[in-house]
Amino acid sequence: MAQKRLGTQTIKLSSPPSIISAYSIVGPKEGEGPLGKYFDTIIEDEFWGEQTWEKSETKIARECVANCISKVKLSYEDINYLLAGDLINQCTPSAFGNRDTNIPFLGLFGACSTFVEGISIGSMLIDGGFADNLVCATSSHFCSAEKQFRFPLELGNQRPPSSQWTVTGSGSVMLSSSGTGPYITTITTGKMVDMGIKDANNMGAAMAPAAADTMYMHFKETGRAPSYYDLILTGDLGYIGKSIVVDLMESRGYNIRSNYNDCGILIFDKEKQDTHSGGSGCACCATTFCGYIYNQLQAKKLKRVLLIATGALMSPTTAQQKESIPGIAHAISIEI
């Protein structure tokens, strides 16, 4: 077996990369949410001076990467790779937003798991000695996602209680071979798990089995117990998905009740902000991490975090064709 592999899905980095910069941009609704004060930029409205939702998301993606780099006084030339993705067809916000940067670009699609997918690959690039500094970014936009996946915004309809609210925003991190942490220490790459959920309004239930599977494999292959971590955090399972993960882990003999939470639950106030089962979208995990969690790691209030981004690998066409939704979840452990 390859030297750095711990098992079928987990690897341990021998020279762990540091997260030396993190930047988050969010929409007004996220800015009013419980994590509002942790975000770097809160845009004043969903258009942010652009003519279309897609252009607005593109601008958010561009500004987030640019600010992540300038925050640590580096420039585009210092970045060896940009790994980015989003939810819009062919990932245009990530590509168009960064087309003038001249950074070698790897476009990724892992639905809402893309943020950790990017960090996983980026960490391997650095650990392998292929890069010194690289940026991983994802974005999503409530309005462009609604337009692509559901109905026009002005349509007067009701959302079921299981539906989730796509987070508007973007999160970027810079990984570096030099730095003083927080470090990416282990990576558990998820496999696709499809338990037959077809309801595109119940993403949490579609993704939860994948999250539980990755979490279980991580504990099994690293030999760590859930209590090793100060916080186990999934990307965007929401209230329903979170409670399913707790049940699924319990049936496998792990109690995660005391230190497990979900970004989709943290980012909105369910009662005041009318977000039903919680937040979702690539930016849900990315902005929560880059805003709130990174802040807590730097302040040493959190020392060991297991971040598991979750994705539902579906399209509007597959949903209409009544296909079930494969879920995916990727995990990284971040330690100071």
């Binding site: 915004l153 002005e154 349509l155 007067g156 009701q158 209680p161 049940d247």
Partner: protein, 150 residues
Amino acid sequence: MRKIETKKDYQKYVDEKTPNSPIGKNILKAFIVGGIICLIGQWISDGLRAMDLDDKTVSSVTSISLIFIGIFLTAINVYNRIGKFAGAGSIVPITGFANSIASPAIEFKSEGLVLGVGAKLFQIAGPVLVYGISTSIVLGIIYYFVSTAG
């Protein structure tokens, strides 16, 4: 917790776990808002009748007025809020039909007048038109044979 072995077990477990829409509350809200919209239509029609207009003109002008109100409220970002509260109460009346055509027009304006607005205008209303008109044709044919036979 019981063991979840198959996809079927999981489906059943998820169904139990997922909260249902509050049907009773939703029906009541739909009834009240739908009723108010119809009441407004009745007022318009009574007002027109008081102006000594004939029945055909009254019904046309009433429909046109309600369609205008529906589109106007869509344009100023109000109809979606009514719809969120009322559900079917504001979808079923003619104002809801107007909303279902105006909302894609606003949303897809960015893709141009032909491939955006033109192609997507009936994205939501299209199925209603297709099956509404088809049903009326079928019923018309049945009516024709029944009435000629009788």
